[in-house]
Structures are given as C-alpha cells and as structure tokens.
Symmetry: C2
Subunit: 107 residues, 2 copies
C-alpha cells in the first residue's frame, strides 16, 4: 500500500479541475506541453506547474524529445488511488462491490 504522503500527492493532484482536465486529455495518447496547455485559460507556466504536480504524484511521465516534452499517462498514481478507494469504499455503499474484483486481483 502507498504511504500517506504518496496518497496526499495523488489525491491532492486530482483535486484541481485543470489537472483532471489534463488527465482526460491524455486518455488516448501522449501530448506535448503546448498541446495540453491550449484548452486552459491560463499561462503556459501555470500549466507547466500543474504538469509537474501530476508528474510528482505519478499520474504522468515525461519523455524529452528534442525541444518537445512529450507527456503520457503513468498508471502508478491512478492505481494507488483506486487501491485506497477499493479498500475503503466497499464498506460504504453496496453499488461498489465490483471494486472488490480489482482489489483482490491486483497486488
């Protein structure tokens, strides 16, 4: 199981619309920083910072490709988040029992 500090980073990273938006934009492949920044009404620098937080949390990884930084998803953080949730959420609501499957199949 992830440490508390890791989970703080993971859930903290999800707690901002811009960062969730970036993750959604990365669902179907990698993108550059400029491409990721385009839809967001803020400076490129601000998006760059959000990317750094996603990277630190383990949601994305970066490949430097010439002068482009290519950003792609990294399953680590999402797995950590789901593992925490799949452990605690089932006690709360019946409709979540399907999560047990995930919890028991992935160590």
């Amino acid at each position: 199981m992830s440490t508390a500090k890791e989970l703080d980073l993971v859930f903290g990273a999800l707690g901002h619309e811009t960062r969730r938006g970036i993750l959604e934009d990365l669902r179907h492949g990698s993108k550059t920083v400029l491409e990721l920044a385009a839809p967001h009404p803020m400076s490129l620098n601000a998006v760059s910072k959000h990317l750094k937080r996603l990277e630190t949390a383990g949601f994305v990884r970066r490949t430097v490709d010439g002068s482009f930084h290519r950003i792609e998803t990294d399953p680590r953080a999402m797995k950590a988040a789901l593992k925490w949730m799949s452990f605690y959420a089932p006690f709360w609501t019946d409709s979540l029992t399907s999560l047990k499957t995930f919890r028991e199949s992935d160590t």
Copy 2:
C-alpha cells in the same frame, strides 16, 4: 456527473492523511467528534475543521444528538470520486477493467 467544483472538494478532501484516517475510522459505524479526534496528534479544533471539510465534500453527515455530534459516512462523495475514476482510469491500465462494471451499473 458531478460538477468540477464538487470534484475539487471531493478529491481535495481525500488529499490529507488525517481526513483519510477519519474515513477509515468510520467504516464500521458512526462516531462522535471526540472519538474521531482521539487518535490524531492535533487539537480537537483541528479535527473539527477536517470534519467540516469532509462534510462539505459529502463524505460524512452529522446528526446532532444532545450535546454529541454523531458522524457517519455518506456515500455521495465516494460515489462521485469513483464515478470520475471509473470513467477515466480504465483507459490507463488493464487491471482496472473491473471498474467498468461499476460505471455501467450505477447512474
């Protein structure tokens, strides 16, 4: 689907060890504020603030019972979190396919 602001509150609430700890403590039933505060190395007031954030995010609800505030889990926030994750996580990692079950069965 939840609004962006709601998800900010939901994931933001999970981004702190103390608050996750409180949720874990509530898995098997309700507790009072004092009971919830006991394990945490901080003032009662600090825990009271964390509870308020969990309440605002929809993770817990409160019943005032005499001079006690009885805190119990509320599935709303956890459902919102899982719904977001179940929608975006499956694109990332094969081991999460079981989440689809949840997504498709719960509207």
